[in-house]
């Protein structure tokens, strides 16, 4: 490329990226420009305004714990080909991701509803999987798990198996290899996958609407406020959702970038 055209090309690239970035941020910009300070204060001062926030954060936290404990081993086994017929397992994960959240909610009624055998087992434990905190967690797990599993699988697959082999030859048992090599190397990818899972959990709505209308999380609060008092009253809660949900993905992003920089020395 001629030398004179290089700066022009660089400027065009940055301008193009900026246009795309602003377009992606469009809804957030709209949110910020369509709210007044007074509306925010009055919405947040309403009695019980912070209840849904607390429910969302708690349910999101439990969902993350479930993802880490249950889905991480599945992702590792998928990445390392430890499961028979791996394509079938992967297809199952992808299929659950392709289902619209609303449909997931409807199907969960058939799976964990009070008249199913799973529901009756849950009932025997004096719990219920409909319109309870447990139901909210179940809905959030189903909405976020496929995204986490696929991301974590990619994170584990990015770790060279020869490094694990080398660690074993140096005297580490498999569990220790996982702790000292696999996990640290996959950690940035796992953190990003968790961030995606967290975002999906915090924003879960379709499945929640069907099986966990109560207790209200923030998405449900936004929906009911919109229904009852209109858009202006609902928007402050959207801002709250954004403010509460953003730090974790942002921290994951910053930490991943820092880990990458550290490895590059």
């Amino acid at each position: 490329m001629p030398r004179l055209l290089r700066p022009a090309s660089a400027v065009a690239s940055v301008a193009g990226a900026a246009v795309i970035w602003i377009a992606l941020l469009g809804p957030v910009i709209a949110l910020l420009t369509h709210m007044s300070g007074r509306a925010i204060v009055s919405a947040l001062e309403a009695p019980g305004a912070f209840g849904p926030l607390l429910v969302s954060v708690e349910a999101g936290g439990v969902t993350l714990a479930v993802l880490m404990l249950i889905c991480t081993p599945l992702a590792w086994m998928l990445a390392r080909g430890r499961l028979p017929f791996p394509r079938i397992w992967e297809a199952g994960v992808i299929a659950s991701m392709l289902l619209p959240p609303l449909v997931i909610g409807l199907l969960l009624v058939f799976l964990v509803g009070p008249y199913t055998w799973v529901g009756s087992v849950i009932g025997d434990l004096h719990l219920s999987a409909t319109n309870t905190f447990l139901a909210l967690v179940i809905a959030e797990v189903y909405e976020s798990a496929p995204y986490y599993v696929l991301g974590a699988q990619a994170a584990f697959a990015s770790v060279d198996p020869r490094l694990e082999q080398q660690a074993g030859l140096l005297g580490d048992r498999p569990r220790r290899v996982f702790r000292r090599v696999t996990l640290p190397l996959a950690a940035p990818g796992l953190a990003m996958s968790l961030a995606v899972g967290w975002a999906r959990a915090m924003g879960a709505f379709g499945a929640v609407l069907i099986i966990a209308y109560h207790p209200y999380g923030i998405p449900m609060q936004i929906y009911t406020t919109l229904q009852e008092t209109g858009l202006a009253s609902a928007l402050p809660f959207a801002l709250v959702l954004l403010v509460v949900a953003l730090p974790l993905p942002l921290a994951a992003y910053v930490w991943s970038a820092r880990a990458g920089r550290r490895r590059r020395g």
């Binding site: 074993g168 140096l170 490895r263 020395g265």
Partner: protein, 361 residues
Amino acid sequence: MLDADVEVDRRDFAVRAAVSVPPGERLALFGPSGAGKTTILEAIAGLVPLRRGRVVLRGRVLSSTGPPAVAVPPWRRGVGLLRQDPGLFPHLSVRGNLGYAPAADAAGRGDRARRLDELAGRLGLGGLLQAMPARLSGGQAHRVALGRLLLADCDALLLDEPYSGLDAALRRSLTELVIGLVGDREVPSVLVAHELPDAQAFASRLAVLDRGSVLQTGTPHEVVLRPASRRVAELVGYLGFVPVRASAAAVGAEVGAGEAVAGEAVAGVHPDRVVAGAHPGRGVVVTGTLTRCVPAGAGWEVGLGLGEATVVCRLADRPQVRDGRLVVTALDPPCFGPDGVAVPKHGGGDMKTIQGVTPAW
């Protein structure tokens, strides 16, 4: 002592090999790509299952198809493996990599830290202990990988083409370093190489492999000068095979009465074991047509046409050609019978050439 007699299934063929390496000895497994060299190392390290066989290291059975069947897992074998990719842990500093192997106890950890600093100095890594692997050059990364294995106190060292891709000077210095360190520790070591100079530079003994089988074992010099078969000769760099006719008188005494090799045989000509001119007392004098002459290293690589056969040789000086014909002497060449097996020679025979070759013994 490392004793391995292994048979491993591969997709294309089964690898069958028996190697025995005393402490401090350096064995090189040499052969073309895909010959099964790495498979043997992996079988010793416990990374691939044996179909049949046994691996014993310092009297401890690591693998055996039995009975009783034994399969010690890789992390309990005490076998260090260094590959072409040094395999440094990218999230750990040079110090973290060097000291990776778990120490048995606190005293071991203290001793390890002292040895680490000492070894780092010897490996020329003293100023790099806090550096991350991504910042290291290829040679530095290999030295870290080697130091990591040595600090792990392995009972055997396996080197799988560790220096491929590095420049010749670096390969030479690393090989000397490995020889010194392995010699100090008196551990058996096995190097896999598909470049003969690498194998020769490292090994005190050389095993030539082809399609999963060991064709010949001996000192590197012995294998190159006296290949057991034409295939071994081809693998160790013989580039020309000159038809000769061996009479019973020439070879009969050594192959046994009544078993004299009859018919055509070939003499193997190694490019580096050829001198210009006719020296009948030193080998086979070959007269042929000059087909090419190109600079090679500090000398010349010459192609010599002998009817259907072609001989390649490297000469120090540009050859003088008369009437398009060139005379060279292949120094004491090995001879192979029609079945490809080496024919023992002795002086005083009368080997006759088929065309263009004058017998010298």
